[in-house]
Amino acid sequence: MTIDILLQTLASGVLIGLIYALVAIGLTMIFGVMDIVNFAHGEFLMLGMYASFWMYALFALDPLFTLPLTVLALFAFGVLLYKTIIRRIIDAPMLSQIFTTFGLMFLLRGLAQFFWKPDFRSVENSVVTGTVKLFGLQLGRPQLVAGLGAVLVTAIIYFFLTRTKLGAALEATAADKEAARLMGIDSHKMFALAWGIAAACAGAAGALLSTFFPIFPEVGATFILLAFVVVNLGGFGSVTGAFIAGILIGVIEVMGGLLLGPQYKLAVVLALFLAVLMFRPQGLMGKA
């Protein structure tokens, strides 16, 4: 194994890791704000991919241009999901919460399969295709753009959470719901906002992925497990943690594949997951 291959692998790991981070940010936000684990999170990504695909297939609009639309659509969808279903299980026993989001996962996958058939789709002629040579490494242009896009969106979210009043209100609700309520912050509005943002992030990730990743109803499954691992490693509730952990997991995944073979990529990640759960359940930066 040469340095070239190592660096190549590292680079691709970082790029895909940035996408994982973006997906995980939404997941960790929902958990941080309302203590619910959203098993249906992968489906937001899937819907983002399909939204991008259909706008491309029907109107010949490149996913990168329709990204803002996709984000808005998914935001609205996340809020809708909260208002119709999730708000009913805020105080329900954990079993109910787990199964509601699990049910949503199946429901969204089933609906996607019903309306759009299980065939694999792809965006053939995106604006970003081919490879680009950077620092002597051969990187796929869509992957590079996706990675950079992920950084951009993450930065926007971070800025929102730390520099705006609304973001501060969200963080306050995450820290102490009751105290925030006493200060006039409406928990339900914050929860809806969190779901909207989470869906939007995952949708953005989906839009970015659609330029090079196959699109099919079950695509969320691959990413949800990884997103969990990222959230766990980064620390439940921590956006910064999710970002760092996402990159780490991306790198570890591809490195594991390089060293042990591609069929063990997921196994390496899962083993890490269990190790973190056992020895440092609060992750790198979490609130436990």
């Binding site: 329900a92 049910g103 996958r109 299980p118 069929q263 196994a267 269990l274």
Partner: protein, 329 residues
């Protein structure tokens, strides 16, 4: 028996249940009989899951790991060492119970969601291991060649003997749960589920009792796996170690009512019927309609009937009893 015969309605119910249990033996349609067997097997797995998830309150979404261990253990023992499946079934159960120790020791410290996720990870990891393990057939799986009809070898060409086996295993698992429910274990499990800190203050070692619940649950789940292997005569990672299977085991209890003896049985009946109905009505088109119905059902139960059908039924009876008491006054 006194407990069972509390009222006329209950007496009728028990008789009806017995008839219902034995009726399928009178059927000749293999597909109907197969459906009944599926119900019994789903119920048995649900009852086994319920011990840990319903009574002790530890939600496992990776129980297929034990199912698969049981299936592979008895099958590989049979094929490579000629071990009789009856023994193999027990061996599989023992293996699963032992494996559950490793699992419990490392994961019982985890609370709620974290524990559930750990169970998913373990089962997925196990599936990957078996998918890449040549000795166990890798992704292709393992087949059991059919010899001849024999109770000693647990091999039958017809369905009726399997119906009896499935029924027997279900009754065994129910009996174990019933016994546990009434023993100190039952109280300790419920205490752990309700208020773990208070339980500790009463001298209950939480980890030890969670482990007991897990080991027994794993044991019975594994036996179900062995039964499946003997019935289908073919197993592969996708059919005995998948997360979808784990979810079904949990769902059966949740649908019927966690922490109740017969809840998983009720849930199994409803779930299997819906499964088969939607599959036969819609499934053929490959459009995922059965998944949609399944999913809508899960959401409806989780949101509106968290105590499952049995819980809903008991609530209705309690309300009705209170109303009639009020009216009498």
């Amino acid at each position: 028996m006194k407990i069972l015969m509390k009222s006329r309605a209950q007496q009728i119910g028990v008789v009806a249940l017995l008839l219902a249990l034995l009726a399928p033996l009178l059927l000749d349609s293999p597909s109907h009989l197969n459906l009944a067997i599926l119900v019994l097997m789903a119920a048995q797995l649900g009852v086994a899951w319920n011990l840990l998830g319903g009574y002790a309150g530890q939600v496992s979404l990776g129980h297929a790991a034990f199912y698969g261990l049981g299936a592979y253990c008895s099958t590989l023992l049979l094929l490579n060492f000629g071990v009789n499946p009856w023994l193999g079934m027990l061996a599989g159960g023992a293996l699963a119970a032992m494996a559950s120790f490793a699992f419990g020791w490392s994961c019982f410290r985890l609370k709620g969601h974290y524990f559930a996720m750990a169970t998913i990870a373990v089962a997925e990891l196990l599936q990957i291991v078996f998918t890449n393990w040549e000795y166990a057939g890798s992704a292709v799986g393992v087949s059991i060649p059919f010899g001849q009809d024999s109770w000693a070898a647990m091999m039958f060409s017809g369905k009726k003997p399997f119906y009896c086996l499935a029924l027997g295993l279900l009754l065994l698992t129910l009996a174990a749960t019933w016994g546990i429910e009434r023993s100190h274990l039952g109280y300790y499990f419920r205490a752990i589920k309700d208020e773990p800190d208070a339980a500790r203050s009463l001298g209950i070692n939480i980890s030890r009792y969670k482990q007991i619940a897990l080991s027994i649950s794993a044991f019975f789940t594994a036996m179900g796996g062995s039964l499946y292997a003997q019935k289908e005569l073919y197993i592969d990672p996708g059919s005995v170690l998948s997360t979808a299977l784990s979810i079904k085991m949990a769902l059966v209890s949740i649908l019927g009512g966690v922490g109740t003896l017969l809840g998983p049985v009720v849930g199994a009946v409803v779930l299997t019927v819906i499964d088969e109905l939607s599959r036969s009505l819609f499934g053929g088109t490959g459009r995922g309609t059965d998944t949609i119905i399944y999913a809508a059902l899960i959401i409806a139960v989780a949101v509106f009937y968290p105590n499952g059908l049995v819980g809903w039924w008991r609530e209705r009876r309690r309300v009705a009893a209170a109303k009639s008491k009020g009216a009498a006054q």
